[in-house]
Every structure is written in structure tokens, then in C-alpha cells.
């Protein structure tokens, strides 16, 4: 049996100046013992005839044969005429095998200078930006085609996606918005109490929730939940040639895979945002009544005046834009997957990071825009 437990070891000794006596297990499990010794012995140089004796070798595998062959080659390079002695016929064949295959040394990895790395990075970034813009354009064209022939839109996948990204996300979106409302009210309570302006908690919670927090938290949850799923699904389909199959069947992948998701998310995200508005305000209301003594009736009474319709619409109006960003980024990154499982994972991560990043950038741009417009 292979003696894993008894630690097989190869041995090499120089009995005479010109004789290398090999012994033990010249296999992948024993070779590590002689790697160093072999290097030292060979670096000394051996002029004249060298004999490689294998009479004490117990086991030899193809790796061992290769190493012995390398030893012979090294000796030859040093000007010696190496000879094999005492090898069993099977072992001799393996050593011979070690010479039959010629292997070119691995091409050394090209070393990049810092400047080159920066340049490549910029080029890659630019190429991705370009590809992203092209993809967005393609989806928009497909959307226009779809809207001009509404019958061509695939209703069933759209509804399925609305259910998946919208209805199924209600619990998590509701819970997080509710807790966010509590947090906002709690943070504001102390400050307002100091000035005796308890009732303004309604303005604080109502406006911050409707204008900022509800759309943002909803978009972030959906990016993590659905955007990643889009990237993973399309990425896996890409690597298993399903996308190619779709093309050859005369089905445009964008119409089949992207458009339903895009439309579904544009419908679902504003609705989810409204739901988050309600739950967020409810959370704030609960905190206001326990910490500031603002009753539910007073709170609701003031809410109508505090949050104008335009403020409410500003919040909900951002949602379709966020939805477009999430759907496009998720699908785009999915289509960029190539190779295997590894790449799908990478693209999925990228889709989540990029869509959350872009959502926040878009939100900041909205803030600038609305402040200019005095909304």
C-alpha cells in the first residue's frame, strides 16, 4: 500500500565523486526531501563521467522520472557523460518518458509599470462606459419599439417580475422603512424637545421620509435583491450559451430578458416607495407619541400640511429613475459575464455595487436640481 503514514522519502547521496546513488521513494510524496540537496549537488559541477545509480530506488512515478531526467540533462550541460546504472526496466522506461516530452518554460508574466496600469485602467473604464451607454441605448430603442406596438410586449414575464421584485419585497421594505422612521424620529426628538417644538417632528419625519429616505432605502434594497438576481441569471445564461441559443432562434435577448425586468421594476419601485413612505411615517409616529407625547391624531392632522403634494411627488418621482438604473446595471453586468462561475459571481457583485453607487449619485443630482427649481 502507498505509505502515506510512514512518510515516504527520496534520498540522494554522492558515494564517489562521480556516482550519484539514488534511493527510496522518488514519487511526488517523497521528492520534496531531495529538492534542496539536488540543487546544491548540481551547483557544484561534476566534470567527467557521472553515474546515476538507481538500485536502491523503491518507487518511481512519472514526476520522479522527470526529475531524474532533469538531473541527467544538468549533468550533460556541465560537460559530463551521465550513465544510468542499476535501474529496473520499468523505472528506466519512466526516466525515458521524462525526456520524450519537451516542455517550454512558462512565459514570464508581463510586468506592468504603474503608468501602464493606470492607462489600461482608464481605457477599460472608458470601454465599459461606452458599452454601458450602448446597452442603455439598445434597451431604450427596444422599449420604444415595444411601446409603439404594445402587443409585442411580453405581459406574462412583466407581471412575474413585478411580483418577484415588488410584491415579494414588501415585507423587507416595509420593515426597514418602519425602523428607519423610528430612527429619524428618535434622532430629532431630543433637539426639538429642547426648543419645545415637539410638533415639528411631523415635518421632520414626513419630509425626510417622503423626499429622501423612502425612495433611497427602497432602491438600495431592490438593488441588492433584484439587481443582483438579474445579473446572476443573465450571467449564468450567458456562460451556458443560452443567450446565444436565444439569438439563433431569432429572439432578441434584450426584448426577452431585459425589457420585462426594466418595465416591471419601473412599475414596482414607485409602488414600493409609496409603501415605504407609509411605513416610515408610521414608525416616526410611534416614536413621536412615546418620546414627545405627540398623539397619533395630532400627527396625522399636521402631516397633510407639513408634506406638500410636490414634496411627496418629488420622492416618488425619483423611484422610476432609480428603477431604470438598477435594472440596466444588473442586466448590463450580467451580459458582460464570460467564462465560468467565477465571472458570474464577479459581475453580480459589480452590479450591486455599481447600482447602489449610481442610485446615490442620481439622488445627489436630484437634490441639486430640486434646489435650483425650488421644489
Amino acid at each position: 500500500m502507498a505509505g502515506w503514514t510512514k512518510q515516504p522519502a527520496a534520498t540522494i547521496a554522492q558515494t564517489d565523486p562521480g556516482v550519484f546513488a539514488l534511493g527510496g521513494d522518488w514519487t511526488v510524496y517523497g521528492l520534496d526531501r531531495v529538492e534542496h540537496e539536488l540543487g546544491v549537488m548540481l551547483s557544484r559541477g561534476h566534470p567527467g563521467g557521472a553515474i546515476v545509480d538507481g538500485s536502491m530506488v523503491v518507487a518511481l512515478d512519472s514526476a520522479g522520472g522527470r526529475v531524474v531526467q532533469k538531473l541527467l540533462q544538468k549533468l550533460r550541460q556541465g560537460g559530463a557523460e551521465p550513465q544510468l546504472r542499476g535501474w529496473k526496466p520499468v523505472f528506466a522506461r519512466l526516466i525515458e518518458l521524462g525526456a520524450t516530452a519537451t516542455v517550454h518554460p512558462a512565459s514570464p508574466k508581463a510586468h506592468r509599470s504603474a503608468l501602464e496600469s493606470i492607462g489600461r485602467g482608464v481605457m477599460e473604464g472608458g470601454a465599459q462606459l461606452y458599452a454601458g451607454a450602448s446597452f442603455t441605448g439598445e434597451v431604450m430603442l427596444a422599449l420604444l419599439r415595444g411601446l409603439s406596438h404594445p402587443a409585442s410586449l411580453r405581459l406574462r414575464p412583466i407581471l412575474y417580475n413585478i411580483q418577484n421584485a415588488g410584491t415579494a419585497a414588501l415585507p423587507i421594505v416595509g420593515l426597514l422603512a418602519f425602523m428607519l422612521g423610528i430612527v429619524v424620529a428618535y434622532q430629532g426628538a431630543d433637539q426639538l424637545q429642547r426648543y419645545g417644538a415637539n410638533i415639528f417632528i411631523v415635518d421632520l419625519v414626513g419630509l425626510s421620509m417622503a423626499r429622501e429616505f423612502a425612495p433611497l432605502i427602497t432602491a438600495i434594497i431592490v438593488a441588492g435583491r433584484s439587481g443582483s438576481a438579474y445579473a446572476a441569471q443573465i450571467g449564468a445564461m450567458k456562460t451556458s450559451e443560452e443567450i446565444d441559443a436565444m439569438r439563433t432562434l431569432g429572439i432578441a435577448p434584450i426584448e426577452m430578458l431585459v425589457l420585462p425586468k426594466f418595465i416591471a421594476l419601473i412599475v414596482a419601485l414607485p409602488l414600493l416607495t409609496v409603501f415605504a413612505d407609509v411605513l416610515g411615517v408610521a414608525g416616526g409616529m410611534l416614536m413621536a407619541s412615546t418620546r414627545l407625547g405627540v398623539s397619533f391624531a395630532d400627527f396625522i392632522d399636521r402631516l397633510g400640511g407639513a408634506v406638500s403634494v410636490s414634496s411627496y411627488l418629488v420622492g416618488v418621482g425619483k423611484a422610476p429613475v432609480f428603477a431604470a438604473i438598477i435594472a440596466l446595471t444588473g442586466c448590463f453586468q450580467g451580459f458582460r459575464a464570460e467564462g465560468g462561475a467565477d465571472s458570474v459571481g464577479r459581475q453580480t457583485t459589480r452590479s450591486v455595487v455599481q447600482s447602489i453607487f449610481l442610485v446615490i449619485v442620481a439622488d445627489a443630482l436630484f437634490s441639486v436640481l430640486f434646489s435650483v427649481l425650488h421644489l
Binding site: V28, D32, S62, F91, A106, G339, G340
Partner: protein, 283 residues
């Protein structure tokens, strides 16, 4: 054990839910032979293979590999048996995140204490043995063609110089020349290293050219194990049916005209004639 059976299945029974795959199945594989497993789709070839290579536990019966009941082993013993078996999966099973060189070096890195330089050297040597160009070493599996993928997978299966080699459809999806190359490669490896090879295949050329014995699966058990010459004249109806289809006759006819092995690989016959009279590595 030197000349005995390296694999012995006794009364193996497997079922998935109500679907019975094997019932009371017996099979023996002799040391140093190339045994082919054939059978129609759904006859349980792959399941049987998975049960031998410790991937799936049969419901009943015993599976002995290299003299040990593999389903009664503890972790360390099972690892030892696994290390002595090389497996080449149907779609290669190469890791997509590693280059071919790293794929082949992985078992060496995991199970031996060799230096990185020597591991790379051995990996490239195995690549060259399987007939791959050296520049394939730095490629990722997704960049390889089907034939190259099979060769790289074979190189990885051979990384630790296993005693047992399992091949799942090694020639499926290859062009005839590549299939021939893989056939001869397997034969060469067997003759060189004294490997025992178990191969699942539908490729009749492979059956005729390199299989010593062929086990026909059907009816939830092994219907017959014998050489191709005997099997094609078998009296068992299912076996007869399997081989006497038009394709079977065609492959046999082709073989009589010319053995594609001898044509493509001049030393194919010579290597085989040499044979392995003695185990190359005493144990």
C-alpha cells in the same frame, strides 16, 4: 492484490425515490485492464461510477476499491483512496478560476510538500504527456476547445500518478481524430503506468480499439462482462440488441478494414505489445 481485482461491487442496489437504478448488481475490475461500461441512457452508468469514486452512497451492497470497503472508511482513509484514483469528468470539471497549469498543479499543492517550481514543472510535463501545446498552460478552461479540455482534464486526473483512472465519456463531442488521440493516450498511459482504467462510453471505436473487457449495463444490473468479440455474438437478447445495431456493425466493419489507431499513432500497437508484465511500482 497484485493480480486480483482492484474494484469489487457486491449486491449494489440504488434507487431514487420509487425509481430503481440498480438491483443486486455485481461487478469486478481486474488490475491493469481497461474496462468499459456501456448501456443505454438511464441504465445507471454514471451513478455506478459515482458510487465507486465515493461521490454517492449506494442504498445497499458493498463497494470495494483497492481492497477497501470504501463506504466504511473514515475521512482520512477515504482521502487516501481518493488520492489513488484519478477521475476525468464528462465536461472536464476543470476549475474555471484557475489556469490549466494551476488546475493540474492543484492536487500536487494539496497533497504533497513539493516546491512551487517543481509543481509547475510537473504540471507542464503532464500537459506535454497528454499532447497539449505548452501555451495552453496559461489559458483558462473557458478558452480551450473541446479536445484540449479533455486532454487538460486527463492531465489533471493523472497529476498524482493514480493507480485507478476513471473516465466519463472521454471521447464524447470530439471529432474522430481527437477521439482517436484520446483513445491512444489512454492506452499509452495504461501501458506506461500499469493503470487500471474504467471508462464510460458510447464510442464503439473506443470499445473495439482499447477496451479489454466491456460491461453491459441493463435491466438494473450488469448483463454481461466480456471482450467485444464475445459480446457481439452474445445470446443475451439485450446485449445482442445493443451491439448489433447498425452503428455497431459499422464500427466493426471499419475496424476490419483499417485500425485507425495504427494509422494515426505509429507506435500505438508497439506500445501495447510491450504490455505491463510487472507492476511498475511495487507496493
Amino acid at each position: 492484490m497484485e493480480n486480483g481485482n482492484v474494484i469489487r461491487l457486491r449486491g449494489v442496489g440504488t434507487s431514487f425515490g420509487a425509481h430503481v437504478v440498480h438491483r443486486d448488481l455485481d461487478l469486478e475490475v481486474r488490475r491493469g485492464e481497461i474496462l468499459a461500461l456501456v448501456g443505454g441512457s438511464g441504465s445507471g452508468k454514471s451513478t455506478l461510477l459515482r458510487e465507486i469514486i465515493l461521490l454517492q452512497r449506494p442504498d445497499r451492497g458493498s463497494v470495494e476499491v483497492l481492497g477497501q470497503d470504501v463506504w466504511a472508511l473514515d475521512e482520512a482513509q477515504a482521502r487516501d483512496v481518493r488520492r489513488r484514483c484519478g477521475v476525468m469528468f464528462q465536461r472536464g470539471g476543470l476549475f474555471g478560476s484557475l489556469t490549466v497549469r494551476e488546475n493540474i498543479g492543484l492536487p500536487l499543492r494539496e497533497h504533497t510538500r513539493l516546491s512551487d517550481a517543481l509543481i509547475d514543472e510537473i504540471a507542464e510535463f503532464k500537459l506535454a504527456l497528454t499532447g497539449l501545446e505548452a501555451d495552453a498552460a496559461d489559458k483558462y478552461p473557458s478558452e480551450l476547445s473541446g479536445g484540449m479540455l479533455k486532454r487538460a482534464a486527463l492531465a489533471r486526473a493523472l497529476a498524482l500518478d493514480p493507480e485507478l483512472l476513471f473516465l466519463d465519456e472521454p471521447t464524447a463531442g470530439l471529432d474522430p481524430a481527437s477521439a482517436e488521440g484520446v483513445d491512444q493516450l489512454v492506452l499509452q498511459m495504461r501501458d506506461m503506468f500499469g493503470l487500471t482504467v474504467v471508462v464510460i462510453t458510447h464510442d464503439l471505436d473506443l470499445l473495439w480499439d482499447i477496451a479489454d473487457r466491456v460491461a453491459v449495463l441493463g435491466d438494473k444490473r450488469v448483463l454481461a462482462v466480456d471482450s467485444m468479440e464475445t459480446l457481439v455474438n452474445s445470446a443475451i437478447p439485450q446485449v445482442h440488441e445493443y451491439f448489433e445495431g447498425a452503428r455497431g456493425v459499422a464500427a466493426r466493419g471499419r475496424r476490419n478494414v483499417s485500425s485507425r489507431g495504427a494509422n494515426l499513432n505509429g507506435n500505438g500497437g508497439a506500445v501495447r505489445a510491450g504490455g505491463v508484465e510487472e507492476a511498475w511500482k511495487p507496493r
